[in-house]
Symmetry: C2
Subunit: 358 residues, 2 copies
Amino acid sequence: MATNATGRRKIVVCKDLGATAMLLLTDRPDLEVVRWMEDRRCDRAWLLQNIAGASGVVVCFQDMVINTLSRILTYIRSGPNLRVVSTISVGYEHIDLQVMAEHKIHVGYTPDILTDAVADSTVMLALMASRRTDETSSFVKNNQWPDFNWTPSAFCGPQLSTTPFSPTRTVGFLGFGRIAHAVLRRLAGFGVTHCIYTPRPGAAPQPARDARLQALHGLVSVAPVDLPALARASDVLFVLAPGGAQTLHLVDAAFLRQMKPSGVLVNSGRGAVVDSAALAQALREGWIWGAGLDVLEEEPHVTAMHALVREPRCVVLPHLGSAALETRAEMTRLTARNVLAGVLGEPLPVALDYSTLV
Amino acid sequence: MATNATGRRKIVVCKDLGATAMLLLTDRPDLEVVRWMEDRRCDRAWLLQNIAGASGVVVCFQDMVINTLSRILTYIRSGPNLRVVSTISVGYEHIDLQVMAEHKIHVGYTPDILTDAVADSTVMLALMASRRTDETSSFVKNNQWPDFNWTPSAFCGPQLSTTPFSPTRTVGFLGFGRIAHAVLRRLAGFGVTHCIYTPRPGAAPQPARDARLQALHGLVSVAPVDLPALARASDVLFVLAPGGAQTLHLVDAAFLRQMKPSGVLVNSGRGAVVDSAALAQALREGWIWGAGLDVLEEEPHVTAMHALVREPRCVVLPHLGSAALETRAEMTRLTARNVLAGVLGEPLPVALDYSTLV
């Protein structure tokens, strides 16, 4: 295995993983660890300068520049040394998988781990959008509480949970994978009764799996439906589909016009599944009740002027679904272990199988 | 039964119940319904002017003035006609129960109904405080997302749910009644493992009930503890105790100093159970992680200058725990049915049994 001039294998770290995880790398005398230390995104010139001879590189979702860089570094600078790109994310849209496959560079990533943290924040967004927390916390901050003329309907929103006098609730999932299942488990405690979802195109029906989920959570039904039925029947609709051309703008004006006026849309998946302009119109014109978004197609170029940030019934968070201490600690450890295994020529703890993706 | 000059029994409505519930009263030719119609709180002069000869009165939690008014109206104006005070609330701190008992005036209220809506908002507050939504949504609104220098620890907070690598979570309840049980049911879906609570002073232990809850929700344990143990062991502490002298400032500086630095406090019960000044200090100095409050001892006199509203890790909502459409609709119907039954001399659908309270 190739080593650099100092006789040590080199790892370039574009994103500091924090003290605990970094020790897994910096404690080893057989490694040279070069890290970006500035309090801003790793810049391209720095990476190009340092990547020569590197065996591994650590990146994050934000390092979209890796598309370009990976080409450059693979062909020109890093030579045959580069064995692994380890990203601290479940997504890999920022990595050029063609180049990785061509040069047999392993890709480490962090799926599964963040399921629970994202499920927590997804349920939180459903509650916040229903219960209008943006409006009500602003009400307090704008000094309006002392003069609050309470009425039974003031600041009300649709109720996520069932009650004896409102005994059914249907939740819909656009994308019904691990995170959706974790969300459903949480919603069962709120008394949700019906679960519908759209299956992946071409996927075989899974009646046994659905029956198992139904029994496990004490639901009335779990069933696949087509997209129009998903829009029409969902009290809360969760977008948890992967990104890409197949899911681009599945939630568009036509979809939103079919939703219930009391319907709430939550997107914790990928921004581009939802047409932002259509959603803003849907909220402005009352086609649906509200929305909770952790992702937007325009992110991170989202400011106070964005049509959705301006909507009072739209909660917008800056892509922090996995931002729970326990989860992020485990994500950093796994990212370090992935890059370490890669540079040592060992199997990665969690490698992306890109053979079906390129 | 006494009637007024028009031969009809009179109901004074200090708080409009909305079209559907009001029809239950206004549709009846045998009733005279006098209502406060202005878009501000019912004022005292108006009530005194209209209460003469009334058989029933509808009030809300905000009509604190009823303490004084009920004395005045009972002794001077309404005479023996007043049979029922119907409040659209689960609380009755605003009603002078001594006077009610003395004159055998029934009190209608709306307990139980709002359990699920309050439980939803309580879980929401736990998530919002843990996951720092005030800070993160401000981050977006302050145009900081485009330049977000993502790090693994940025905007992280403690995770409500358990995960395979962080497998235990203890929730504590100060006040372990209906709403607490409804919160616990929801938290079970988040994988919470341990539940502790402080029993009501002098209450008999309920090991069978606790074992039933433990089995029902698949928890490791459900157990009573004393107040210091509750403070020390809770990852999230829920204040759901009733108000009054017995619970005043149970959560004080001494209590808060014993909590975990990662601990989150949620108050959906009564404001005065928590010492606001002590909580503000606890947040400012990092004794605990964060807080989510639907009630404060100073409410409604809470503005942007309030020490807790100024704390970035404190979510403050203006007492809207029950503000879900389905719940409020049912609360208004019950309030109307209570006042109606009272003036007709029938048993109230849900009467407060104040015999043990005065």
